[in-house]
C-alpha cells in the first residue's frame, strides 16, 4: 500500500489544539433577567417562570412557582387589574399574554386537586410573630412568615378572613366558594393560630401583642368611610357607598332605590356599587368622577382608579359615567334630593407646576336624581394604634414596610395609604415577612435594587409567530343579573395556548438557536440543566465572540460582555 507522506495529511479534529478563544474581545454569557411581567407584578410573581412550567405540562410545578410569591392566585387571578399584562412584551407584538387567566386556572386547580402549599411545619423553638388583620396583606404576611419557619398569631376583628375582598368585592367578580376555599387552606397551615372576633384596641392591645411576639405586622386596611366634607348642604340619612356595598355583599339586599341614583367617585367602590344597583333593577345609575374612563392614551393621573375592565363592564351594564365632572351642590327639597348641579373639571398645573382641580365656570349642568351616594374613599381606623397613624395612614418604609422609628413593627396593605389593590397588599405582606425574618436573623434591611426588565427591543421577534390570545367567556350584559361570575376563565386548552404564546423574556427556552447558529461549535448542548439553568454551555476555549448567538437568541438571554 502506498504510504502518504506526513506532510500531506492531518488527523481529524486536530484543530482543537488551537484555541480560537484567544481572538475574543467580548464573550457571550447567559444572563437571566426579569421579564416585564415579573417586574410589574405588585405581588412579586414571576409569570414567565410559571408559564414555562405550564407549557411543559407541569401544572403543579407552575402553581408552586406562583405561590412562592402569592398564596392567593384564585383570588388575584379574578380581581387583580393585572399590570403584568400591561407590561407584557407580547403586547407590543400582537396581544399580551392572558396572565391573569393562567393564574386563576392554577389557583382553581390547586383548590380542586388540593395541592399542598410548600410550607414546612415550624420547629419547637420557632419565633412567634403577630399579624393584625386577615385581609390579603395579613394572609400573605402570615404565609411567608410560616414559610420562613415562624409561628404566626393572626388577629382578625371579624368572624372570617379575607378582609375587604370578603366584605366588599361582589360575588359576581369573586365567588364566595373560591374565597372561602383559598383562605381556609391558608388558615389550616401548621403553625398558624387564627383568632377571629379579636379586634386590636378592643380585645387585645398593641402592648400585649408586643410582649408575646418577636415582631408584629399590622394590616388593618382602610375600613373607615371618609366624611364627605362638601361645602354644601347634604341630607342627614346619607349612606356611604362602601356601607351600602358591604350590606349588599353580606345580605344580598339594598334599600329600595327607585328612579335615578348618582354615585360620586371613580374608584372600585363607586363602580361596584353602580353595577350592584343595576342588578337591583335601578333604572338609571350615574357615576360622577373627576377623572376619565380608562382608555389607551389617557394619562395615568387622569384615569379612574377602578379596574379598567370593571369600568368597561359597568358601561356595558348601562351605567352612565360623567367624566371630568364635579359636584357643585345638591338640589334639595327639604331633606329630599331632587337633583345635583355638576360642573366640568380638569386637573391642570398651577403656578408651581402642581396638578390642581379646576372647575370651569359656565359649564354647570343639572342632573335629576333621587338619591346621591358618596363613594369617595376610606381611611385607617386608628383605634388601638393611634400613635402610628398620620392623616389616615400608617407611614412606612416603602420597600419593607417597617413603621417609621420602629425596629420590629411592620405594616402594609391598604393601611399604607399609597395604594389599594389585592396584589399590592400581597406584595406588602410578602416583603414585610421577609423583612421580619431578616430582622429576626439579626440582618440589616437594605432595599434591593429593582430588576431591570428585559426591554422589547432585546428580543429577536423573528423567531416567533403571531397568534391571537385565547378569549375567556364573558357573560353577556343582559344576563348579568345575579351573583353568577361575569368572567368564565380559560380551560386547560386556553391556558396552554397562552403559555405557548409567552416569549420567555429574559429566560432560555431551550430553542437550540445558539447551538444551531454558532459557526465555531462553541455552544455545547447538555442533557441535564447546566449550572446556570440553561441547557447550554459556552466553550470559551473556542468561542471567537462573533455575537451571532446573542443577536439570534429570541429571548434576550444571551448578552455580550467585555
Amino acid at each position: 500500500m502506498t504510504q502518504i507522506p506526513p506532510g500531506a495529511f492531518a488527523q481529524p479534529g486536530t484543530s482543537l489544539e488551537f484555541k480560537t478563544g484567544s481572538w475574543r474581545v467580548q464573550r457571550p454569557v447567559h444572563r437571566h433577567r426579569a421579564a416585564p411581567c415579573h417586574a410589574a407584578c405588585p405581588a412579586g410573581e414571576d409569570a414567565q417562570a410559571y408559564l414555562a412550567r405550564v407549557e411543559v405540562g407541569d401544572l403543579q410545578g407552575a402553581w408552586e412557582t406562583l405561590v412562592s410569591a402569592n398564596p392567593l392566585p384564585a383570588i388575584t387571578g379574578r380581581v387583580c387589574p393585572h399590570p403584568c399584562e400591561t407590561a407584557c412584551n407580547r403586547g407590543q407584538y400582537d396581544e399580551a399574554i392572558g396572565i391573569h387567566a393562567v393564574e386563576r386556572y392554577l389557583g382553581d386547580e390547586a383548590l380542586r386537586r388540593e395541592w399542598p402549599y410548600p410550607v414546612p411545619a415550624p420547629g419547637s423553638d420557632a419565633p412567634r410573630v403577630a399579624v393584625v388583620g386577615a385581609g390579603p396583606a395579613g394572609l400573605a404576611a402570615a404565609y411567608h412568615l410560616l414559610r420562613g419557619g415562624c409561628r404566626v398569631t393572626l388577629v382578625e376583628a371579624l368572624a372570617a378572613a379575607g378582609g375587604t375582598v370578603r366584605t366588599a368585592i361582589p360575588r359576581y367578580r369573586l365567588p364566595l366558594d373560591t374565597l372561602e376555599a383559598e383562605t381556609a387552606r391558608l388558615l389550616a397551615l401548621p403553625g398558624l393560630d387564627f383568632r377571629p372576633h379579636t379586634q386590636l384596641g378592643r380585645d387585645v392591645s398593641l402592648e400585649e401583642l408586643r410582649s408575646e411576639h418577636a415582631a408584629l405586622f399590622l394590616a388593618p386596611g382602610r375600613r373607615k368611610g371618609q366624611e364627605w366634607n362638601a361645602d354644601f348642604a347634604i341630607p342627614g340619612d346619607l349612606h356611604t357607598g362602601l356601607h351600602l356595598l358591604e350590606t349588599w355583599v353580606a345580605e344580598g339586599t339594598l334599600p329600595d332605590h327607585p328612579g335615578a341614583v348618582a354615585i360620586v367617585g371613580g374608584g372600585n367602590t363607586a363602580v361596584d356599587l353602580s353595577r350592584v344597583l343595576r342588578r337591583q333593577g335601578v333604572p338609571s345609575v350615574h357615576l360622577i368622577t373627576h377623572q376619565r374612563i380608562p382608555a389607551p392614551g389617557v394619562p395615568a393621573e387622569d384615569v379612574m382608579r377602578a379596574n379598567p375592565r370593571e369600568v368597561a363592564q359597568a358601561v356595558e351594564e348601562g351605567v352612565t359615567i360623567h367624566e371630568h365632572r364635579g359636584v357643585r351642590r345638591l338640589i334639595l327639597r327639604g331633606e329630599r334630593v331632587v337633583g345635583m348641579e355638576l360642573v366640568h373639571m380638569k386637573k391642570l398645573p398651577d403656578a408651581d407646576g402642581r396638578l390642581q382641580r379646576v372647575a370651569f365656570e359656565g359649564t354647570e349642568t343639572v342632573l335629576h336624581v333621587d338619591h346621591v351616594i358618596p363613594a369617595i374613599g376610606q381611611e385607617v381606623d386608628p383605634a388601638g394604634f393611634e400613635a402610628l397613624v398620620e392623616r389616615g395612614r400608617i407611614p412606612v418604609d416603602p420597600w419593607w414596610g417597617r413603621v417609621q422609628g420602629q425596629t420590629h413593627l411592620f405594616a402594609g396593605g391598604d393601611a399604607r395609604g399609597d395604594h389599594g389593590s389585592v396584589s399590592e397588599a400581597v406584595g406588602d405582606g410578602r416583603r414585610a415577612a421577609l423583612g421580619i425574618l431578616a430582622v429576626l436573623a439579626g440582618e440589616s434591611l437594605e432595599p434591593p435594587t429593582p430588576p431591570e426588565p428585559v426591554p422589547f427591543s432585546d428580543l429577536n421577534l423573528h423567531y416567533f409567530e403571531p397568534a391571537p390570545a385565547a378569549r375567556e367567556p364573558v357573560l353577556p350584559p343582559q344576563e348579568r343579573r345575579g351573583l353568577e361570575e361575569v368572567e368564565g376563565g380559560l380551560d386547560l386548552h386556553g391556558v396552554r395556548h397562552e403559555a405557548h404564546r409567552c416569549l420567555s423574556c429574559g429566560e432560555c427556552l431551550a430553542c437550540d438557536n445558539c447551538w444551531t447558529l454558532c459557526p465555531d461549535q462553541a455552544v455545547l448542548k447538555t442533557r441535564e440543566r447546566a449550572a446556570d439553568g440553561s441547557h447550554y454551555v459556552f466553550d470559551y476555549d473556542y468561542c471567537k465572540g462573533c455575537g451571532i448567538c446573542a443577536r439570534e437568541c429570541p429571548t434576550g438571554y444571551i448578552r455580550m460582555e467585555s
Partner: protein, 331 residues
C-alpha cells in the same frame, strides 16, 4: 449543585453532542463567518458516511492549517478549479470498490461560477453521484475580496471599486442555478444559513435523490461584505426576505418549490447593513438609480418565482424558523 444541574467539562461535553460534528472547533475562519456556519450545517446533515473534495478558498484554508484539520470526515483538497473532477474520481473509485460512502464537493463561488465551472458542468453531464455544494459568499474572499461571477451588481470589491465610471460591479450576478438546472440534473436548490432547518432538509433531500445534485448556500462574509460579525444570520435572512436571494428547489430543470416571502422587505434594509453597498447611500442620483436597479432585480425574482406569500404559513420566511421550547424546531 442540585441533582438536576451540573457543571460541565466542555471537553467531555463536546464529545457527547447529540449531532454529528463534521466540522470541529478550532478552525481559523473569521468571527461570524457564514461559510463556516454553512459548512458545519451541511456536513451535519449529510454525514457521517461521506467524503469531501474541497476546492481552494477560505473553507479549505481555514479548516486545514497544517498539521491540523478541523474535519472529522475524509477530506481532500483539490485545487481551485477542479473540485468537481476530483469528486467525480472519488465517486467512481468508491463505486468500483462497492462502497456506499457518498461524495460531496465543496467550493466557493469562485470555484463554482468561474474557474470551477467546466469541471462542474462535466461532472453533472457525466452523471456522477455527487452533491456539489457552492458556499456562495459572492466574491473571492480568500485572496482578499475580488469580484467573481457571483458578486451582485453594484457591490464594491477590490476589483470593482465604486468611482466616477461605475458604481461597484458593473455586471450582474450569474444565475448559476438556472445553468445547473439546464443540465437537467435530478435536484438543484438554493439555501441560506438564515434558514438552517430548510438548509438541512435540502441537504437530506439532495442526498436521498442521489445522482449529480447541486446546492447553493448563501453564506455572508462579514469581512468581505463589511458587516458586524453578529449580523451574519440577520443579513442572510434579509437577502431572502427582500427577494435578492430566492430560496428555490428545482428537479430536472423544473421549479418544484420555493420559500414564500411573508413580508417582502425593501432591498435597502439588506443593503444598508453592508459596507460593500455603502456608496449606494451617498444620496446622489447615480446611487438612487442603482438602488432602484437592485430593487427591480429583487422584484423580478419575486415575480419569476412567485415568491410573495399568501398570508401566514408554516413554511415561509417568517414561519420556517419559528422556535419552540425544547428546540423541536430543528428535529
Amino acid at each position: 449543585m442540585s441533582a438536576e444541574t451540573a457543571r460541565h467539562d466542555a471537553k467531555t461535553l463536546r464529545h457527547q453532542q447529540p449531532r454529528f460534528r463534521g466540522l470541529e472547533a478550532g478552525h481559523r475562519a473569521c468571527q461570524g463567518c457564514g461559510e463556516a456556519l454553512a459548512a458545519r450545517l451541511v456536513t451535519e446533515a449529510a454525514g457521517p458516511d461521506v467524503m469531501v473534495a474541497n476546492a481552494t478558498g477560505c473553507l479549505e484554508v481555514f479548516t486545514t492549517p497544517w498539521p491540523q484539520s478541523a474535519w472529522r470526515l475524509p477530506w481532500i483538497h483539490s485545487v481551485f478549479g477542479n473540485a468537481a473532477a476530483v469528486a467525480a474520481g472519488m465517486e467512481a473509485a468508491l463505486k468500483q470498490q462497492g462502497r456506499r460512502t457518498r461524495v460531496l464537493a465543496f467550493a466557493g463561488d469562485g470555484g463554482t461560477f468561474d474557474i470551477g465551472f467546466q469541471a462542474l458542468s462535466g461532472m453533472m453531464e457525466r452523471g456522477h453521484d455527487v452533491l456539489f455544494v457552492c458556499f456562495d459568499n459572492e466574491a473571492y474572499m480568500n485572496t482578499g475580496v475580488q469580484r467573481s461571477g457571483s458578486t451582485p451588481h453594484a457591490a464594491m470589491t477590490n476589483t470593482s471599486p465604486p468611482g466616477t465610471a461605475r458604481m461597484g460591479k458593473r455586471h450582474m450576478k450569474k444565475d448559476i442555478l438556472a445553468i445547473l438546472a439546464a443540465h437537467r440534473i435530478p435536484y438543484a436548490a438554493t439555501a441560506s444559513v438564515a434558514y438552517p432547518s430548510d438548509l438541512r432538509k435540502k441537504v437530506r433531500r439532495a442526498m436521498d435523490t442521489g445522482g449529480p445534485v447541486f446546492l447553493q448556500v448563501h453564506s455572508p462574509c462579514p469581512l468581505g461584505w463589511g458587516h458586524d460579525s453578529d449580523l451574519t444570520v440577520q443579513v442572510a435572512r434579509l437577502a431572502v426576505q427582500t427577494g435578492l436571494f430566492p430560496l428555490v428547489e428545482m428537479e430536472r430543470g423544473e421549479l418544484i418549490g420555493t420559500l414564500p416571502i411573508r413580508e417582502v422587505r425593501p432591498v435597502t434594509d439588506y443593503l444598508r447593513l453592508q459596507q460593500r453597498f455603502r456608496h449606494l447611500f451617498a444620496g446622489d442620483f447615480r446611487a438612487e438609480k442603482e438602488l432602484e436597479h437592485l430593487q427591480a432585480i429583487a422584484d423580478r425574482n419575486i415575480e419569476r418565482f412567485e415568491l410573495r406569500g399568501g398570508g401566514k404559513e408554516r413554511y415561509d420566511t417568517e414561519g420556517a424558523d419559528t422556535v419552540h421550547r425544547g428546540g423541536d424546531r430543528w428535529a
